[in-house]
């Protein structure tokens, strides 16, 4: 059925403005030029009275109410008396729009949205956030002490499940990434080394590179994406479902219950996975060396054994242990401090992965500098 278009007629006689509304008002309807004209005349004209009438009004929705609220607000600001000749329902809604008071203190204070205000906000919140992280680390250390004393509320089943999640279940992805990384390292090295006819040094390059740092870094990055994210999402969802509150209500420490098994599992399993990853990387180098660089298999293995010192493997394990702790702390911290919405879980998960990877890189730099200073 065709509905008549909305109409706004402004009649300005002397100091009286009469706005006559008609037709069908709905949210998507195009507005006539007189719509803006009425608002402008009311805002700028010399007026002593505003009359609102709607004798030919057909159907209407919130779009009409929005227009009337704008008119009434301007009139009230300019102290212009209003003569309302509107349908009863519309008058009631209009009264409601102005009479319902907002709850005192409920409205959020508007923060400056400009760049400097945002930077200032970040700086102000940085130190409390840092203190909160330190508090969490303190809770973790206390939980470890309780575990040492045999008083921690960590469940053996949870610990075993965490071990399973970050060891056996991670093997396929660790295998493929490290095998390929060994291949890449061998290819990159071969480009230079074949020019000097010392392709056999590819074995040393791959062996030392993987054992000393790259095996641990690759495992760390894979575990940050795989396990760190899952910890943040799991604990965050528990926070949303009040499961963490339920732990607290029984006097259980969420850190001992949720963080401790995950941190211990990762601190133990990442080094083991790194040993496996190192072997996969060496296998990748071996494939390139024997199949593409025409090295004798025994010669390649012999060169690896001669060039790669045992200490490189041990340093790699130090990296791996630290990465495991960083990933677990990042995942669990962001999970425990997660807000109570689906969006907050998403943010916690993303932040946990980003912070884990940044933490891995920072930790790599620190350990590398220490090793360099110690000459090992």
């Amino acid at each position: 059925m065709n509905q008549p278009p909305l109409s706004v007629t402004c009649t300005h006689i002397g100091q009286e403005l009469t706005v006559t509304l008609g037709g069908s008002w709905h949210l998507g309807a195009p507005k006539p030029p007189s719509y803006e004209e009425a608002l402008n005349t009311l805002a700028t004209g010399e007026l002593s009275k505003l009359t609102l009438q709607a004798p030919q009004l057909e159907t209407w929705d919130s779009s009409l109410l929005v227009f009337l609220v704008q008119l009434v607000r301007i009139a009230k600001t300019r102290h212009i008396p209003i003569n309302e000749q509107l349908p009863v329902g519309l008058q009631r809604l209009l009264t409601l729009a102005f009479e319902v008071k907002e709850q005192q203190g409920a409205k959020r204070s508007s923060h400056g949205e400009n760049f400097f205000a945002q930077v200032g906000d970040k700086v102000i919140h940085f130190f409390p956030a840092l203190c909160d992280l330190l508090l969490f680390l303190g809770q973790v250390v206390t939980a470890l002490w309780h575990l040492f004393l045999g008083r921690a509320t960590m469940r053996r089943q949870d610990f075993i499940a965490c071990i399973h999640e970050c060891s056996l279940q991670a093997l396929p992805i660790v295998s493929i990434t490290n095998l390929l990384f060994g291949l890449i390292l061998a290819f990159v090295g071969a480009v230079q080394l074949t020019q000097f006819g010392v392709q056999v040094y590819v074995a040393g390059l791959v062996g030392i590179g993987m054992l000393r740092v790259m095996g641990a870094v690759m495992v760390g990055i894979v575990m940050a994406g795989r396990v760190g994210a899952s910890y943040a999402a799991l604990i965050g969802t528990m926070q949303v479902n009040e499961e963490v509150d339920a732990l607290l209500s029984f006097g259980f420490s969420p850190v001992e219950f949720l963080v401790l098994p995950r941190m211990l599992a990762l601190a133990l399993m990442v080094p083991l996975l790194t040993i496996y990853a190192d072997m996969m990387g060496i296998l990748g180098g071996y494939l390139v060396g024997t199949l593409l660089l025409d090295l004798n298999p025994l010669e390649y293995l012999n060169a690896t054994a001669n060039m790669v010192d045992f200490k490189h493997g041990l340093i790699g394990l130090v990296y791996a242990t630290m990465f495991g702790i960083v990933i677990a702390i990042s995942g669990c911290y962001h999970g425990i401090r997660c807000g109570r919405s689906a969006q907050a879980v998403g943010i916690a998960t993303t932040t946990a992965v980003v912070h884990s990877i940044v933490g891995i890189i920072v930790m790599t730099a620190i350990i590398t500098i220490i090793c360099n200073a110690l000459g090992i």
Binding site: Q103, G105, A106, T153, R155, D158, A161, M238, N241, E242, E243, D245, A246, L247, L248, S249, F250, G251, F252
Partner: protein, 260 residues
């Protein structure tokens, strides 16, 4: 050791609760006695659940004191607070069961942590608590495999695990059909009479309030404080009851009467 019936169990003094600078409620004072079925009621958004969190020790108040017997909860060291928590059970609005555990494991966990019972005895006890909540046979189900109402009952079974002196229930009837809701009311009365458990319940289900409550406070979200306290059946008929509380307790009939 069970407290003497009607002895003061929880005493709340001059409590001020808020989030940051936003004050949710102020000047909150009331007392819960042993054996009470105490309702915290009021309109939506007045801070009932937040007050319950403060009472349960999950959120610190901005000011004021909560006394459990002789202990000022928020001024006590963590060991005392945990000891008090062990004497309380909580049923959360959503049940809040630990999703990675079966129903029996959910009920058994507090028993494993705080008792020296054998695993068999704990399992039997968990079965008994679940049966008490009407969930016999569901011991090995996971929370995701049962309905919302069953989850709530399992939450109640878990809250009862340590035979607490005080049970906090957050909207226990929300989402339940009227028959289940009435069964839950009967269960609450039975537990109060048999185990002498004290209940602090957040709810605005008037049928439950009038059926089982013997004491209550009414929170008002305009004045942000307690508007009325006492037995709701008495408050409903008391002409001195403030209109907002009366209006709530009489389903708006008081307001209609006042305007005509």
């Amino acid at each position: 050791m069970p407290q003497k019936l009607h002895a003061p169990l929880i005493k709340v003094q001059d409590l001020l609760v808020g989030y940051g600078s936003f004050i949710l409620m102020r000047d909150v004072c009331f007392q819960v006695n042993a054996g009470d079925i105490f309702f915290i009621t009021g309109g939506s958004g007045c801070g009932k659940s937040t007050l319950l969190k403060v009472l349960m020790g999950l959120k610190p108040p901005s000011q004021g004191h909560i006394w459990y017997g002789q202990d000022d909860f928020w001024a006590s060291p963590i060991q005392i607070r945990n000891k008090i928590k062990r004497n309380t059970g909580v049923l959360f609005q959503s049940g809040a069961l630990w999703s990675s555990m079966t129903l029996a494991q959910n009920v058994a966990l507090p028993l494993q942590q705080y008792t020296t019972l054998s695993d068999d005895a704990i399992y039997e006890l968990a079965k008994l608590k679940l049966a008490l909540a009407g969930l016999a046979g569901f011991e090995d189900y996971y929370p995701s495999e049962i309905s919302g109402g069953m989850r709530k009952r399992a939450g109640l079974a878990r809250a009862l695990a340590l035979d607490p002196q005080i049970l906090f229930l957050d909207e226990p009837s929300a989402g339940l059909d009227p028959v289940s809701s009435r069964h839950l009311d009967d269960l609450i009365l039975e537990l109060r009479d048999t185990l002498e458990t004290t209940f602090v319940i957040v709810s605005h289900e008037l049928d439950s309030i009038f059926a089982i409550a013997n004491n209550s406070i009414f929170l008002d979200n305009q004045t942000r404080t307690i508007q009325a306290k006492g037995d709701p059946k008495v408050l409903r008929n008391d002409p001195n009851t403030p209109l907002c509380a009366l209006n709530f307790l009489t389903r708006g009939a008081a307001a209609k009467q006042a305007t005509t």
